[in-house]
Amino acid sequence: MPGLEDLYREIILDHYRNPRNRGELDAPPALRVEGFNPLCGDEVVVYLDVADDGSVNDIKISGQGCSISQSSASMMSSAVKGKSADEARALIRAFKAMMSIHEQRLDGSEEEEPIQAEPDVKLGDLEALQGVVKFPVRIKCATLSWNTLAQGLDEAAEAPDSQ
């Protein structure tokens, strides 16, 4: 359908139909973090098994949402699994850099600096989500699981013993 091929790339539809790392982890010991998109009702639950050194031992995703939020969560889980905390955070920044300019435009606010791109980070499959920036309302769908992941990493860093 004209206009939509940028949004619904084949790899996105594939992750939507066959989500990776779908499921739950026992929490505790795992960390369970919820994310909501109040606009559309999408919910994502990220389960994180974080090692003492902060690296992501395991990750599972549950919740419900549109093809963009689900495929983004699926790709995110594949990308960060096994990564160190620093690598995961660099990925978050790189992904948000790909999305951020337009996210701010939707807000109407221009006061904040756009997140800087991370030239050394390879986004791989995730680059398929680049088409989302042409559809500003959908950016929040794409970033939902990433924001939830970021919150989880913060919680893990703050309370390392509680895991």
């Binding site: 359908m1 004209p2 206009g3 939509l4 949004l7 619904y8 539809l13 139909r17 606009l39 559309c40 009702g41 999408d42 919910e43 419900q64 949402g65 549109c66 093809s67 963009i68 939020s69 689900q70 559809f135 959908r138 769908c141």
Partner: protein
Amino acid sequence: MTDRLDVARIKKDFPILERVTHDHRLVYLDSANSSQKPRAVIEAMEHFTEHSYANIHRAVYEIAEEATAAYEGGREAMRRFINAPSSREVIFTKNATEAINLVAYSWARHNLGEGDAILLTEMEHHANFVPWLVLREEKGVELRFIGLTEDGQLDLTDLDRLIDGASLVAVAGISNVLGTINPVRHLADVAHNAGALLLVDGAQYTPHMPTDVQALGCDFYAWTGHKMLGPSGIGGLWAREELLDAMPAFLTGGEMIRDVRLDGWTPNDLPWKFEAGTPPIVEAVGLRAAVEYLEGIGMDAVREHDVELTGYALRTLTERHGDKITIHGPSEPAARGGVISFAYDNVHPHDLSQVLDQSGVCVRAGHHCAKPLMRRLGVGATARASVYVYNDEADVDALNESLDEADRLFAI
């Protein structure tokens, strides 16, 4: 041609319907979210602003007098439209949400506490939900919920037990998700027999049904302008005068007082006692034009049109999409307003709405500010098409065609 309305003519009254979006004409099927505005409303507001704008109730010069009469004329139009006994009982707020909050903050906070109960339904909009959740947190009021039948109607089998000891029943006249028209008159009788009051959230009801608050038998009635062809920024509450008289003021400031001293104050007469600060003046003028536009069509005709067009949509959607489509709510068009929520195969509503938009078809996807109902239905979101006076069968046909396209796109 089943329509009793001359929709072709009506469409011409709405400038936005000439708009082209994604190379298609605009097929606006989201009026339950907010309706479009006829030229008559836009022009009434413009004419007033260019000729008689002034603050109201505060000055004696000619344009201020004209402005006051215009604002109060909006109130009188609204009184007539819902058949309220007196314009003293018609209070302007910014939207239906503020109207319900007014009841929660003023009436409920001062009359209810621990040991009291409020009866809601599982299909309420957040506007008729969260104010009562807050009241429960603050005052320990008990909340009870009328459940739903499989057909999306209120399940009244347990009503006698639920109503026992309740002080207030608060219910939507029409559900914004299921389209269900609730049995307000019956609930009023049951409530009053049990010594409870009835609040009707009329946000979806007043735009679509001939509204008579006296015949409905309710005690509080909330409505909103932007869903009934009127401007954003205005809504209101009707309540029986003796209730309003006994209620303490809510928002306070200018207009709503009679006297202020360092040591105290006295409130103004109704309805102004509940209208603090400069009200939505131009919006009241636009609202009056909206009321007159709807009166010109006739609310009986609006209702008939809803039933026919919704019937057409239910029929064609089911015929064309078969098992792929699941429609929520009552199966009988006569039991529902102009709202159709549905699930489409494995296409998420959000994606559906995005794909439909490419054909100019505007439907809403989401939880429709009714998350408890979404949980009850076991879904995160639905797609929702809703019709109004400017929609016709061609619009429904466009919806059907664009659903086919979504189907092709998301097919495995």
